[in-house]
Amino acid sequence: MKTEDVRACVIRIEGTNCEDEMAAAFETVGAKAEKVHLKQLLGQCPPEMKRSLEDYDILAFPGGFSAGDYVRAGAIFAARIKAGIGREVRDFVEEGKPVLGVCNGFQILVEMGLLPAFGETMEDVPSAALYNNDSGRFECRPTVLRNDNRGKCVWTSDIPKGGLVMTPSAHGEGKLLSSVPDFTERLEGNDQVVFRYVTPEGGKAYYPWNPNGSPSDIAGICNPAGNVMGMMPHPERVLTAYTAADWSRGHGSEDGDGKLIFTSVMKYLAKR
């Protein structure tokens, strides 16, 4: 499909607070982005504001503190979606349309059972959790990520395998845990590991380069099909060099590292 025909749905509820940057990210790479409240998809709004998920080509869950992080980060947003438009979201994913969750969005995808989704597209009960950082604090700083995906993830094709990108992290609960035996090995086997935290030189991360203590330094994963990706750091905050942590020391390009995530998905859609 043509770039100008791509429509991105940036979904929000109360407490979502990164929808502007997320929409801007898709606009930057030529797509039409719309910030859509969940109630517009549920039809709980004036008729002219109603929207349908099937009219969009991309679904993005922005960061924030949806529903005040009550119960658990992302749990309430996930439950509301499953209850109201669970089937539509499942169809969206099964059609191969790309879905992105950043920060709170990643927490929502995990709570919804769309990640890691070993057995089925949308698991009934979550099989992973994004738990409190080891430090017990909100961690907010630049992080360096290495692309460890072997080619399945549709969101990272523009980043060379092993390539490093610098994106900011800002979260209190980013430690990826699971009760699935051999969790990391299964992710690796399915090519579901996307990003790992590393040091600026690309070596094994340690605190604070791994801000949350995530086992195996995992920062982002995708589903077995590769079209759903969740990551804790914020690529939409570094679309240009001017918001990159190293901009005053010569970033080397007008573009920020985060833009590559969005150019990658546009290439994927161009082939569809």
Binding site: R72, V125, S127, A128, A129, Y131, N132, G136
Partner: protein, 79 residues
């Protein structure tokens, strides 16, 4: 009317910053002899259904929303 208590607690070995922070704060206020503090969450539901149905409903609430089985366990008690 049936009243049920749902208690959500962290599984053994899962870090509990809220609990440890509470302990630290109480100790800084001068309280002594606190061995450990665990944070748990308790929800009280008033349900318009018989007791056996209420227990089942409570378990469903846990599975669908209140507990993530990776880090949390739950108990449902009918009062």
């Amino acid at each position: 009317m049936t009243v049920i208590d749902i208690r959500i607690e962290l599984k053994k070995g899962v870090a509990d910053p809220e609990g440890s922070n509470t302990k630290k704060t109480l100790e800084s206020l001068g309280f002594k002899g606190i061995v450990s503090v665990k944070s748990v969450k308790c929800f009280v539901f008033e349900l318009d259904m018989p007791a056996d149905e209420a227990r089942k409903a409570g378990e469903e609430y846990c599975k669908k929303l209140l507990a993530n089985p990776v880090v949390q366990g739950y108990t449902v008690t009918v009062r």
